[in-house]
Structures are given as C-alpha cells and as structure tokens.
Symmetry: C3
Subunit: 205 residues, 3 copies
C-alpha cells in the first residue's frame, strides 16, 4: 500500500505541476517562468505547511523525485500539447485525487508534529490548496478557490477524516484511504452537479 500512496503522491505532484505550467504558458512566461510557476504550484502548499511546523528545510524542496515530476510535466506540455489537452476530463479526476492525498498527508504530518486537531485540519487544507493560491497570486489573480466550487472545503473534510486514524479511532491505514476517497468523491460530485458554497449577501456594500 505504501507503494500505492507513493504513486498517488508523485502523480498528484505531476498533475499540480502541469496545472501551474499551463497557467505559465498561457501568460507567455519563458522557460524559467514556467518552471518556477510549475514548482510553486506543485510543492508550494507543502512548503508553507513545513515552514509553519518548523520542519526545515521543507522536504519537498529537497526531494529529487518531485523535481523530476515537474520537469516531466513541462516536457509533456512542450511536446504533447494536443495529448495533454485531450485529457481535460480525466485530469480533473487526477487533480481531485492529488487534492485528497495532499490533504490527508498534510493532516497526518501536522498531527505528528503538534497533536492539534485544529492545526492539522488547517495545514492539511493548506498543503492541498496553498500551491494553487500562490500560483494565482503570482499571476496577479485572486485565488480561484476563494470564489467558486467546492475545493478547499473538500480538502478540509479529507483532512478531518485522516485525523480519525491519527487519533486511533479507526485504523490508520484505512483512514488515509477513506480520506482520499471521500475528498475525491466530494470534489467530483460537486463538479458534476455544479454544487457551490453559499456566498454572503452584500446589501450594504
């Protein structure tokens, strides 16, 4: 199962890197810019988490496998653009899978460092969505996760489920799978039926 989780980790990193690279190419960044934006999107969330935990240097910056995922994502985009774009629908699923994994992994790591439920849910969510936020800020946009779709909320629920395992309420090896499954499910169902979070009415401003 460890191998399976490792695979999801790398696959999620690849998909996140790809999403960053696509935004970079759209903004006509040069190769370095695409590489930087791709890296930030893929490993930025984990870095924020690790810095908040004092787990320095952030392992995501040192891990050479992540580096290869990012290079692979950029290479795919350079040489197989048509193929990448024919993957529109499936890539949403892979993205949801990565979201679930990063939320579960982030919550688990934060629990091991702090044993704080609140912080574990918070940093689990940050691990999963922080990279995308940084990507949006770097291209001068308000983070999309603030305005629409169930995305960060799904990550929060995933992180909370993972904690059931960390707190020994259910066996830990089930909690991580359940966490990834539920987070991915919520994300995909909300996409399919176009479910969004309420906004607060603004009559007075």
């Amino acid at each position: 199962m460890d191998l399976f989780l490792h695979f999801i980790d790398l696959f999620g990193t690849f998909v996140f890197a790809l999403s960053g690279a696509i935004v970079g190419v759209r903004h006509r960044f040069d190769l370095f810019g695409v590489f930087a934006l791709s890296s930030v999107t893929a490993i930025g969330g984990g870095c924020i988490r690790d810095i908040c935990l004092g787990a320095t240097p952030p392992p995501g910056l040192v891990n050479i496998e992540y580096f290869f995922c990012i290079v692979l994502a950029i290479a795919s985009l350079s040489f197989f653009q048509k193929l990448v774009f024919s993957f529109g629908k499936p890539s949403l699923f892979f993205d949801a899978l990565g979201l679930g994994f990063f939320a579960a992994f982030g919550a688990n790591k934060t629990w091991l460092y702090t044993h704080s439920v609140q912080l574990s849910i918070l940093l689990g969510c940050v691990s999963a969505v922080g990279g995308g936020c940084l990507r949006d800020v770097l291209v001068g946009k308000t983070p999309v996760i603030f305005t629409k779709e169930i995305y960060a909320s799904a990550a929060m629920i995933g992180a909370a489920i993972e904690l059931l395992g960390s707190a020994n309420i259910i066996p830990e090896r089930y909690s991580i799978l359940l966490s990834i499954f539920v987070c991915t499910l919520i994300r995909m169902v909300s996409l399919k039926y176009n479910i969004t979070l309420k906004t607060i009415a603004n009559k007075y401003f």
Copy 2:
C-alpha cells in the same frame, strides 16, 4: 490588567477579522473564501512574525479563541450587516486599538526572543499590519498602507514605546498601556485631521 489586555487582543482579532470578511464579501467570495481572507487578515501578521522568530507552529494558528473570533466576525457580517455598517466610525477606533495592541505585543515577543531593538520594532509593525497586507495582495491590490494614511508608522512608534518597558527604562506594565495609547492616539488624530506621510516627488519617472 492581564484580563484587560486579553480582551483587547480578542477584540482586535475580531475587528481585523471583520475587515477581512468585508473585503471578501465585496469580492463575492464564497463562504470558504470569506473565512480564509478573514483568518489571514486577523492572524497573518502574527504568523509572519512567529515564522521569522522560528516560534513554530505559530500560536495564532493553534489558538481556538482566535478561531471563534473569526467565526463570530463572519456570523456578525452574515446576520447583522446593517448593524455592522452602522458602526463605521467606532470600528475605526477599535481598529486603531487593535493596531496598538498587536504592535506592542509583537515588539514584546520579538524582544524576548532576540533582544534586537531593530527587529522588535520591525516585527512589531509587521504583527500589526502584515495581515492587512496579505489581505490586499490576495485580492490583487497594492497594500493600502503603502500609499496613504498614518497606519504602519503609528504601529512602529507603538512598538518602539513598548521597548522602553522591555529594556526596563520604564516599568513594563506601563509601557504596554502607553504604547497602545500613543499608537491609537496617533492613528485617530491623523484620521481626524487627515494627516499623511510625504511622498517623494517623481520628476524623472
């Protein structure tokens, strides 16, 4: 007096959270977006300070009282919008009070960690204004404190006064009250008489 300071702390957090939530609602963020922006505004400055000091995980992220202040701010905005907006003038005073408290608290904490005068003034100021800067950057604006009004400067002066206590020049329990008082006063007077900092002429560019 500790109870009094604790009350100002929570009250300042509430007012800062409210200011973040209002910006979020204005930008039509969904509930998660409003929560995220509100949290960043309320506790972002303290988090930057704690990360710079290596005081991880930042206590502001773990403190459940702050979480309740944020939830309360969002609830107020959802259910009592009219009331919130009738508080225009008073809320400027509460904001100035929060500014003074955060500057004094940030300077005090930094002094305890580093005994550096320069860093204490700097991070005292960052504690007080950092959250608002992050809020502005996240909605794609240049931080307002860079362009107008005496705000960050008031925080710097407050932080400097607090250090008189930390360095035992005046008793510490007076220094924090004096710091909050002077910072709030400077802010309110500059608002009332519309005093601003000089800008540098730009004849050549």
Copy 3:
C-alpha cells in the same frame, strides 16, 4: 578579499533597495511604503532562504548595515534623483554584480546548512531573485523575471559554480569570485545581445 566581498554585499543591497524604492515612488507610495518596498526588494530573497533553512531570525532583518543601505538608497532617490537616473547603464551592471553575489552567498549558506546540491542551487537563485519577485507581487504585477530576459537563470548558474567550491572541487575562494564573474557576465551579455529564454508555444490554449 573578505572586505571586497563585504563591499559587494552592501553595494548589491543598495542597488536592490534602490530598484525597490524607484518602483515605490512610481506607484506614488508614501515614505513608509517606499521604505517597505525598498526593504522587501533588498532583503526579501535572503529572508525566504533563511526561513526555508530554519535560520531564524533572518540575519538580514537584524543587520543594521543593510538598514543603512536602504535608508541611503531612499535618501539618494529623494535628493539626487537626476544623478540616480543618469546612472541608467551602470546601475544595470551593479544590479548584475549584486545578483551574482547574492546567488553565490545563498548557495554557499544553503550548502553549509543542508549539503543538498539541488536545494543550494534553488535557494541560491531564490536569494538573488526572491526580493524582486515580492516587490512585483506587492505592486500587483507578475514577476518580470518570469517573462523575459536571462536573470534567474544566470543566478542559478552562478549558484551551481559556487557549489564547485563548497564541494572542494576548486578552492572556495576562487569559486565565489568565479561564480560572481560568470553570473554577471551571462547577465550583461544577454542584456547586450538581447538574448532571451525560449517560451513554450501555446497552440491549444
């Protein structure tokens, strides 16, 4: 030679601070805003590096010499605007020199902390270009280094050369000079002949 490197360090800080101050004045920031943007540009990259390394508090924030460099840059801009702008061409050279120094210094420090080649090149580059990125984000722009010119890439190459010394392949006192020399050379040559990095074609989006 230590004196020579120390001089480049302060000179690089001054030039970076000046570039931040100029952007601030252009955006009509008040004195505090210009000071804040100038500081972030001059020492932001080093702070990100130190936070990633857990080297807190970041020495750049405590070093009073840097503070004087920043104040000097702002004073120059206030009182000698004409002179500053007559330095257009030379300032590009000083900027390239600062870039080389910060990349070499950042790589060296990261190596001492982590002995990771990948991280040293990465954080060497971040030390050199991170401040400029923060500056651009704070005024709501996409970092210029993402879109044009050989800048960050030159820093990466400089950082890599410095590592030859850290790993004892060549004597360390040569590696830092070679690193600064090559980085500055690449930057100046790419400016002179208008060499840029390839962008990835975007036929499909």
